[in-house]
Subunit: 319 residues, 6 copies
């Protein structure tokens, strides 16, 4: 199948290689075991049920396996589901590998690292620049592949860096319009704000929260890291505290995880820029398979709203 | 006076012409009448009390009068207040006129009208273009001088058009970054969203809510106007309803005045762009007289927060 | 079966003609397709599952079909459900038609139209009277059959007009008690407040929200219609704005869909009268099959409360 | 003065007898003592300040004293205030007595007691009737003069009984419209719901909460009284518990003082009828001195809203 | 099986006697009936499904029956579930009785009654002592076996008295630290606060809310009982009202069921002590089967949080 | 005066030495300058106004000065206020010093330090012990004099250490009752939870928030300090993260300043113990001047409640 699982409509036949992202055993209401498979390729994900499984099936169809599958896309309570007609594990003969099936950012990793490096290079304030560069270098590798979340938005390979690069572009436009903004501070805030997600999340495959992620969280971790970086680099001055404040307040409110509300112009702006990029990512995903004149599935993280594609807009490109 | 009332610090002497924006009689705790004067020049406002007034004073120092005043800026419960030492009404001899004392947008009115006209000219969707142009022409005159609010942000002469032009610039940068956005729709939303403020508010001088403004509100008025414009222009099609939805939902939530939450991508973006420009305006104003290393007055409309100017930032230009 | 589906208790046998209101395909946990049927007759509704269906079944048992059905009422998680033993579509031989199976208001349509006409006739304020009559005439036909909602209360044929007539009777009693109320305004508010539901909802059969209903809503639509009506009739004066305010504020709070809270005595009263009639309708429905000394099912729209029928009250009439 | 203090507009001269309802000493910002007097006559209240008082003044102008006063009604921050020009205590010569100056219900006390007696007489359920009559007899005297509150609504002599009689009339109209309502229960609920206010409040003059009122509250007190009454009368059966539930739930929500939400049809209706009468009373008071085309003062207990009197409504009768 | 159902991990085999606490019939998605059994022994509970039942099964496996069962503990959506392999009802031969299978407090009933008696004996204030003793004697029998709730915490045989005794020990330590606390009042509050749960709940087996429990609630019932007790004992004085206030306010807020917030020092402390004991009970239960380094199931009544057992803590004793 | 300013009732004469804690200039409504003095001695605080001041007065009566003062305690809107009759600065002759006038904890500083040292000494877990001891030593000096807050509770010299010692005693009693609690963890949490208040607040005299206190807050600071301490001591293992979690979550909810809710048994208990000690401190202070049968002033930080002292309780000792 050329077009990728994300683009299949209800009722279409599927004959494709797919990666098992997660596999979970359940007991059907007739008492028989089954597997709930989360299947993925580059374009997106779909859920499938494998009914009446044997112990061998259970051992075979595990997370990380690429399978060849035939079936049909069906509607299950308003969500797409893949009805399996035939499924088999792949072997060397199939010439497929798991990495090729993980959704990832639409831009090249190296290029994005390069772009961030340039933003850091252009900073005027040496203290801000050195702390940002130090932490960027320290986490560069994990940073370039980590997702930005386990669900909702940017939850794919390199989602974190893609989110950061988009925010930098947004921030650049905004900083041009409002000259009172301190560009160095704003860009450093964008680069650092979610960096500790490389510790909060378990990595790009089967992403989960780590214990430390649950008990401490990426915000407090990053505040610690900035403290440490400044110590290590021998940097003193208010820049350290101000960068910590930006990270600390980027969720804006206590009930959203920030122990302090933004009290600096660039901190408030960081929160708004984060918001725009996250929401555009969610809306684009919700709407990209929707036909003009119809509503999308509900988007839980946006107050469970359903979005409408006006009748005078275009059809999805590949339909 | 060269520097303008907005730039005077606590303790400084003032010797200047000022416009009485509002004048309100009160009874002091010793039983004597006094006036609370809201005084203004191009740069900002300050409050002053005129104690122990005579009936003549009451008749002289009324809203709209330009006065010559000598006094000192003092601190009153964390707010600046002007202590009056001498005050007199002006006459033809003084060669001053009220219009020159009203704060107004920092950009030229004609230039801003021109800029909006260009955005409308560039629209591709003829229906959206025609409705937007029709309403823009209809309200152009009031639109170019109206404030955007009675307080909080953009509450000065031409505040509304200045807010709209800033939002258009923001929207342009964002639309370049996210190609899924319909530029025509987003720009039309920006131009129309607050246009009925020309009816909701009483105009640039001593701005108040009109009765219609209180009972109906600018959102519902504008939805009506779009309906009417479409009827008049013989335009049918979903564009009409979608434009109405953008206006209707631009406050985002019921408790903020929008009877419908945004359900279209451009509606959500319109709300966020509106938010950014309003908040930048409020923060800039709160911070522009603050010295590095100090906190601003509290900003009521931003959860009553006080903003900090980092010690490594610059002093206000004129201090 | 004489007694109607609404009056069957758990455990009773059913042998009856019923109309399929909605039919929805699902996939059972054994992988087989089934239909969830919402079945109705004049007295009410019940859900049923049709297991293990063939493609022919799927094509036959669709919305709008009258079927003959044998089965038993069972309890499913505290809700009644109909277990199907036998089901067949009807033909001309059965001499049944869909219209006879839709629940509808307990009063005669013509009589209710007549009653509203009389209220309009009695109005003293000519402007209010003319606008109300104009819009009543314009929508009269749809108005007389439309439900007032898709669920919760008055969601049956002619539910809207029945709700309005009940509210008029309530309003009349209240206006007698409080002479400061403007009867014309209050009655006009009652008649117009929900009138745009004829556009917000898709009609009496398989009622759904229209796109316009979702994006704009009946409140804003009706404000538009009053504006237009006044224009068409050449009516000017505060009556127009005040009527719009009554419609605009009848949900009372922003979070309940009203962009303005009631600011006029009659607007506040309109909201309270609406509330009483809606809640009585919901409680009556919840309690009418409940035995004395027992609790009803939970009523979602009334804070998910369950209502008690005191032991000294009467049994339901038909049990 | 014929017209009563309630009807004086800003700027009018006053020359009248008035009762001092409360008198409170304060220290002016010049360090001198003054009195804040709450003055009243049958028509309403007004505040006045008596500046620069002597110890004799302080001993003379106390709560409960009728004074003769000359002055002018002024505006103080949007509220009316009476500026005192001359004030003296009255003596036997003036032939005035305090009782004649307290605002009280617009209906005759005996007539209202009679009306309630009739509602009780007509009850069909003997248990409900006996309990209601017992408690009505027990508290009759205090019940007929008690206010219903210390502020907001019905806070005048006989305010409680007036509130109850109005609610009974409302309830009667509603019960006719909805035959499923148990009239006995609803009327008993109306009569008993606030009866313990005779213990919660300190009486008609200088009304305050009692200690018991603050710590226990009228709702729990009345539940106790119903229990006791039933014991005393030897009444058993669910009627006792159901009456208690009506009293217990009449504030509808936990955060409004009801430990249980209404779970019986008549309990829900009792709450709504209470609401209507309280709100009408507040709106009527707010609006009765307002000119057509203007807004009232803000009504704190109604979400701090200000109410509008449409331009096509009548002027207050006595202006 | 020696170790008790509470201590079985996922994957373990079970061969044990268990009591059916509740048995509920359902219809599987294949249309066949099944039973959902809540099974219990002294150590805790587990759910099991009995598929494809006959009418005989339905009549046999009812609430209150002790069964012999073989099966395996499985994971069902994060909760433990018992998969039944073999099940049979027991007979006299098995020598088991239902009482031995109900979870109950870990302390001896008589000993706890004795302990409470001692607290009452030590009271200094005779009025408080007599009322407390009177009510304790009156309800002693039910009080010593009643659970404290139907779920969440202390929902086992003698849960109520165990909760009270723990709270008394807590209160004793606290009263030593803060000498301003009135010990008599605090202890009496602890003993009486939940005593009416013996009327609100249906008893230790298959515990449910009574009708009176739902409509009136244990708080209002107990306020009534204190009133009555005082009458019966001829006790007057503020102690009666203050004890009522403690009971009335022990849920602290209106939305949690208390019509009055605590306004007395001991009332506030009573609420906090109640809170501590309830939360410790919930956390201990959630964590006692959890391995070090892992998270518990979510605890609904504690904001749906999941609790972590640090890696340096000990394994559960019996694993 | 022997008895201390805290114990003076309304109407009493004062002739005493007092320390000026804060002095703030204002402009009276007659245009003249005055000072608002916050005066203190060991027993408490009182406000006074000094009217009609000269520039010399302004320079003399500044924060930190001990004055001799004669006056009278008066009531100002329900708060006590001191009316000044005579005031003079003190000289060497008076033999008074500022330190003797600051309210401070009722226990000896050294003794409290000793007590904490003992708790640390008794810890079993060496990692927890070493981190706690390290930080306790590091901040010992400031920790032993710092207040715990700027207002509400424990806002006096050594308030922080007094709060911690009280909490340790509470925690000890609780840990005895619930053996599942890890004593080491709980005690360490108590000792460390507020320790960074020595950086968040400016110290015991004229206590204010520092810039760092406002932008970062004591919770995040302490998490940093634990990280650093562990690094310095070469300690690894989950204890570090768990201690950080206790500090991080001790305000319990996001909206109260904790970015993570408690997810460990001892974290939840730490929050509750903190709560008890803070609330007892506030209630004791509110009630200690209140006569039996009366209500206290409102306590803002406890939902603005007013507390009642039962009539059967004792009079304040010194009245």
């Amino acid at each position: 199948m050329k077009k990728g699982i994300h683009h299949h409509q209800i009722g279409e036949q599927v004959d494709a290689y797919l990666l098992i992202k997660t596999s979970k055993k359940g007991i059907a209401s007739n008492g028989k075991p089954f597997l709930t498979l989360q299947l993925t390729d580059k374009t997106g994900e779909i859920e499938a049920k494998l009914w009446g499984i044997s112990p061998e099936d259970e051992a075979t169809f595990i997370s990380g396996t690429v399978v060849h599958l035939q079936g049909e896309v069906q509607d299950f309570r308003g969500m797409r589901q893949l009805k399996i007609k035939a499924i088999r594990p792949t072997s060397g003969m199939d010439q497929v590998k798991a990495d090729d099936f993980l959704p990832s950012a639409p831009r090249n990793r190296e290029e994005m690292l390069e772009e961030i490096t340039q933003y850091i290079f252009d900073m005027q304030n040496a203290k801000i620049q050195r702390i940002t560069r130090h932490l960027f270098k320290k986490h560069q590798k994990a940073f370039s592949v980590s997702p930005a979340a386990t669900k909702n938005h940017h939850e794919f390979v390199s989602g974190l860096i893609y989110h950061v690069v988009s925010m930098l572009q947004l921030a650049k436009g905004i900083a041009q319009l409002y000259p009172s903004l301190d560009k160095d501070l704003l860009y450093a805030g964008v680069i650092l704000h979610d960096m500790a997600k490389v510790r909060e999340l378990s990595g790009p495959m089967a992403t989960q929260y780590t214990v430390e992620g649950k008990l401490i969280g990426h915000i407090s971790m990053m505040v610690n890291e900035i403290e440490e970086a400044a110590k290590e680099l021998g940097i003193e001055g208010e820049e350290v505290m101000v960068l910590q404040h930006l990270v600390l307040s980027h969720h804006s409110k206590g009930e959203w995880g920030s122990p302090k509300a933004p009290m600096i112009r660039e901190a408030e702006m960081l929160h708004m820029v984060d918001n725009i990029d996250a929401k555009m990512n969610m809306m684009d995903r919700a709407l990209d398979r929707v036909m003009p004149g119809e509503f999308s599935e509900r988007v839980f993280a946006m107050d469970n709203r359903s979005f409408y594609k006006p009748g005078f807009h275009q059809k999805p490109i590949d339909l």
